[in-house]
Structures are given as C-alpha cells and as structure tokens.
C-alpha cells in the first residue's frame, strides 16, 4: 500500500517570503509524484509532476519541487509568494504502472500582507 503524508495542515507566510510545503510518501515501488492546487470552491489544478529524469521539477506560477528518493520526499517550494497563492495544496502519488492518484490531506497556504 502507498500513503502520502503532508506534515503541515496550515502554513501562514508573509507576501514575498519563501515557502516550503512538505510531502513524504511511502511506497516499495517506483512512483510518479504530483502537486495540485485547489482554490476555494474549485477543482484541482496541476502545479507540477515528477515522472522520471531530473529530480528538480519546475511547474507553473513559479513553483518547483525536488524528488528525494532516499528520503521519500517531494517538497514544494516557491522563493517569493504572492497573495494569489493562498489556496489548498495537495501532494499525490501514482504507483508505477498504476492509474489511481493517492492524495495527502492537504496543506492550506495562507499568504498575508
């Protein structure tokens, strides 16, 4: 079985400050890794994905994440956040060769002035 742990349920940060949202996964096989963002009353939008290759992945809106196999982590980072980044962020995995996404419980990012 695989699971996804998002260690922080809420992360408050001031505008223009850097932020890191943490994600750890457990799986005995290879995985594909994703970060999705959800704005209030909306569906999920893909921020970035790791399928293979370079462990540093760049996504939309200035976000990036690094796949660390030894630590089974896929933390999301942004060097300077904006008010518009306030949203819920979900880390998700697909077991290699599988089809279903397994999501973490989400991290609420709140950007303050």
């Amino acid at each position: 079985a695989q699971s996804v742990t998002q260690l922080d349920s809420q992360v408050p940060v001031f505008e223009e400050a850097p932020v890191e949202l943490r994600c750890n996964y457990s799986s005995s096989v290879s995985v594909y890794l994703f970060w999705y963002v959800q704005y209030p009353n909306q569906g999920l939008q893909l921020l970035l994905k790791y399928l293979s290759g370079s462990t540093l992945v760049k996504g939309i809106n200035g976000f990036e994440a690094e796949f660390n196999k030894s630590q089974t982590s896929f933390h999301l980072r942004k060097p300077s956040v904006h008010i518009s980044d306030t949203a819920e962020y979900f880390c998700a995995v697909i077991r290699g060769g599988g089809n279903k996404l397994t999501f973490g419980t989400g991290t609420q990012l709140k950007v303050e002035l």
Binding site: V4, Y32, Y36, N41, Q42, G43, L44, Q45, L46, K49, L51, F90, A92, I94, G98, N99, K100, L101, T102, F103, G104, T105, G106
Partner: protein, 112 residues
C-alpha cells in the same frame, strides 16, 4: 478546449435517494476517474473507467456505481444516499496509460 466539465455544480438530496453525476472528459481523453473529497480532506479514489469498463476501484461500497459511454463521457451513480456521502465529487480525465490527469470543477453534493 473546454477541459473537463461536470454537471450539476451543486445539488441537495435527501437520505435514501439516488443521485447521478455527469462528466465530460477533456477533448481527446479516453479515461475517466472519479474521486470523493470530504470537507477538509484530500480526494479519495472511487473508480476509473476506460473503454466503457471499470478498470480499477477504490474502497467504496457497491452503492457507488458508474458508467462510461462510447463518447468517453461518464456518470457516477450513488444509491441509498447517506449523510456521509455529502462531499465534493471530482471527475478527472486522462489519455490511456498516461499519468497526468485533468480535473473538473466538481459537483458539491449535500445529503440532508
């Protein structure tokens, strides 16, 4: 490209009733997955349809059933609704075996 579209956006049902939710996948996509997102939780996988057949199923009771049509659109049916079925139901589409999935805006179901 309209992306993934779901209908209706909101609905309210009474316990014991049945409900049908609909999803049209992104143009060119042939695989549809359904997820349930309870308040304050991450989405939970219900099932996935490909070539009009259920390809994989999550840990949901048989009250949850689905269908995929020849045009790849899909329906999610829930029978004998319980209060605990209140949630945001998300549809995601993808192409064949590709991992990247695109989500719709969801249907907010409230059971009273």
């Amino acid at each position: 490209d309209a992306g993934v579209t779901q209908s209706p956006t909101h609905l309210i049902k009474t316990r014991g009733q049945q409900v049908t939710l609909r999803c049209s996948p992104k143009s060119g996509h042939d695989t549809v997955s359904w997820y349930q997102q309870a308040l304050g939780q991450g989405p939970q996988f219900i099932f996935q349809y490909y070539e009009e057949e259920e390809r994989q199923r999550g840990n949901f009771p048989d009250r949850f059933s689905g269908h995929q049509f020849p045009n790849y659109s899909s329906e999610l049916n829930v029978n004998a609704l319980l209060l605990g079925d209140s949630a945001l139901y998300l549809c995601a589409s993808s192409l064949g075996g590709q991992a990247e999935a695109f989500f719709g805006q969801g249907t907010r179901l409230t059971v009273v």
